[in-house]
């Protein structure tokens, strides 16, 4: 295999038939920038029908082309048709890299077609760069519980495949290109060969408290929390601030809060206006998930890494500081 035979960067546009998932658009915006370094053209890949106005959104993200796949097998997401489509497309067009949103579905099928193509796959990069000497994309991410940053590359094989968590990159469209190539591919997948199919669905009763990705204010509680009995005051503080509770991984592991509230690289990415952390040590895999306008950190350890990320920090007992904040905020409201 010659690496130079492989060109252009693809982004998979995940959708539910009605609208495109934000992560695909975020990836287009970010990879537009990377293509500036690599000299590649940027293509969005759409499987199955997506309404025209949603495709317009994709165009606004600065793509050079759109590959639209039609045929049998794309009525609803299934790993088999999706893996097959990407394998067929990739063999035909030889892209240099394929990016897939790190949703449940994306994480299910992307590593799978990587195996079928016999190539390398990475997940959850927080930053992307390009090494012109090797021609390889650098997938940069925290590793080993956030203790180190690791640069990962796919040095020999192509395409380079990466899944990226929703919210990692900004959705900031740069506008459409004058000319956008449109490729239609018909790849039929025999529906009888779909090995796993939906036979029922029970939607969650939506609990707004669990939707923190778009919250304006988040009170994040870390492993410094003594036990769940002490959690109530943070809920009160969040209530007073009109915000929501979030947490770091250890609290989910301790069963104190549900994993939907876990903020960070392998949890939810958040971008609140105000972020208050209590008892959070500040491992990179957590802070990487926080993009706050104003970041306040409280921890008893004066050397905690979290203080490097905050705008303002208080060294002290998290419960005491929280109580004092509650006292002052409620006094102000009265």
């Amino acid at each position: 295999m010659r690496k130079s035979d492989y060109q252009n960067i693809w982004v998979y546009i995940e959708h539910d038939g009605k609208s495109a998932a934000p992560v695909g658009l975020e990836l287009c915006c970010e990879l537009r920038k990377l293509c500036g370094k690599t000299g590649d053209r940027l293509y969005a890949v759409i499987l199955g029908r997506l309404p025209g106005e949603e495709i317009e959104k994709v165009r606004e993200c600065g793509v050079d082309g759109i590959i639209q796949v039609s045929g049998t097998g794309y009525e609803a997401f299934n790993i088999d048709a999706w893996t097959n489509a990407f394998t067929v497309l990739s063999r035909k067009y030889k892209p240099s890299a394929i990016f897939v949103g790190g949703t449940i579905d994306g994480r299910d099928f992307a590593p799978r077609f990587a195996v079928r193509l016999d190539t390398g796959c990475t997940s959850d990069a927080m930053e992307l760069d390009y090494d012109p000497e090797t021609g390889d994309i650098q997938f940069i991410e925290p590793a080993v519980g956030g203790k180190i940053m690791a640069v990962i590359t796919v040095p020999v094989m192509r395409p380079q495949i990466g899944t990226i968590r929703p919210g990692t990159f900004q959705y900031a469209p740069t506008g459409r290109k004058a000319e956008i190539e449109y490729i239609e591919e018909k790849i039929d997948f025999d529906p009888a060969a779909i090995r796993c199919r939906r036979v029922g669905f029970i939607p969650d009763e939506s609990d707004p408290e669990l939707d923190i990705a778009n919250a304006d204010c988040i009170v994040c509680v870390g492993n410094g929390l003594k036990d769940s009995e002490h959690l109530e005051r943070y809920r009160r503080l969040a209530g007073l601030l009109g915000g929501k509770i979030g947490c770091t991984r250890p609290l989910c592991d301790r069963g104190i809060l549900p994993s939907k509230l876990q903020i960070g690289q392998s949890g939810v990415m958040v971008k609140p206006k105000l972020y208050l952390s209590f008892g959070v040590s500040g491992a990179v895999n957590h802070t990487a998930g926080v993009d706050a306008d104003l970041f306040i950190a409280v921890d008893k350890n004066p050397d905690a890494q979290i203080f490097s990320y905050c705008d303002y920090g208080i060294v002290g007992d998290m419960d005491e500081v929280c109580d004092e904040l509650i006292a002052r905020l409620s006094a102000r409201k009265e």
């Binding site: 003594k226 036990d227 769940s228 009995e229 301790r254 069963g255 005491e320 109580d323």
Partner: protein, 485 residues
Amino acid sequence: MATYNKITPEIAAQLRAVVGERRFFGKDDVDPNYSHDEMPIYGRYMPDAAVDAETTEEVSAIMKICSANKIPVTCRGAGTGLVGGCVPLAGGLVLCTRRMNKILAYDMDNLAVRLQPGVLLKDLAADALTHGLMYPPDPGEKTATVGGNISTNAGGMRAVKYGVTRDYVLALTVVLADGRVIELGKSVCKTSSGYSLLHLMIGSEGTLGIITEMTMKLIPSPICDVSCLVPFRDVESCIKFVPKIKLANLDPQSIEFMDADIVASSAAFTGSPIFPERVKNEDVGASVLVTFVGSGEDELDQKMIRLGRIAKEADALDVLVVATSSNKKSVWAARSGFLTAIEADTKLIDEMDVVVPVDKIPAFLIHIRSLGEENGIRIRNFGHAGDGNLHIYCCSDDLEEDEFKRRVKIIMDKAYAKCAELEGQVSGEHSIGHAKMVYLRESVGEDVFGLMGEIKKVFDPDCILNPGKVCDVSLTGREGRRQPC
């Protein structure tokens, strides 16, 4: 009847001169949490002022000022008590030891550590481990101060093998009510030298003096440990198993008891059902969690094999092994979270911490259960089966506070009477404070209770140290006692 004086601006200025501006808190600046411990149900009482002391000299100077002016002084550590022990019933000054939190020196030759009273239990345990040593007492509340542990003679799970806090106190520096500083005990293992004021001071709940420094005994940290969970069909067969473990010479480090109710509460609360509710298609009525320590895996395997044999004879449903670090973590997190799990689904709780002879545990629990049913109060309990120490909690659920207190009073009165009938003690490790004083009096009788009062007078004639606690009845008529806030 004790009469006390207010902290005037002049007295405040003197106190401020001792500790400095930043460690003195006037009435409006006192942390509101200082009005209660972990059981606010026994009433909240605010002090007139508080100080954070840092040295023996400061404590001595403070006591001189307070004794000269008859200001009550209540010593407070981390405020994790369960009997209102650190609550300033008569107002006055709260002297907080939280800043006296330094571990001063290890004596590796005599296996001892010198420290200040405000060091937290978990910090001492962790620090000792870095020296290859273990502080054996292991009370459930890890964020309590060691000073508080001494003042209450705290026990904990490992008491079965190692004894209680008292057994690890070698020496104390104590500031008396009038400000004199005395040294009690020496860093030696034996003593036969007169009345042991050291042991009088231990468990005296800040009523005889203020501990400002201590030397504690440590032991080499065990090399390995393993726990076994032994489930039974019912409480009786489970408790009958406890003496058999001891008789088999297995020398367990702890024997913890849990019944089906607490296991269910814990599983619901943590979401991790690590303690099984069914084993081999049978409902588990109660289980014991037995921990062994040793110098190698083979030794522990041998102990477990013997445990397995006697468990089978005792008709245990199974013996489950807790050997991996993850399982140990889950098991002990769940066990340590029992109280939290109980508190999670009720508005208010009241508790008792009695000790009964081990063989009387089932009789006592059956009695308690029927008292709960009679009075419409949900009861939860768990405890240290190895030493008969039971933690019993009355849960208010949705009852109003007054009605809850009324019903709990009935239960408590009868339960302590039953405890006395079974030859038990009022408190195993939470101590008396003001919440359990009447029950102590009933339990020990007038002669002993009176002697305690006489001893108190010798140390603290003006009764300024933690008034209204243990055996000090001077506030029971409510005169001199503040209105709860």
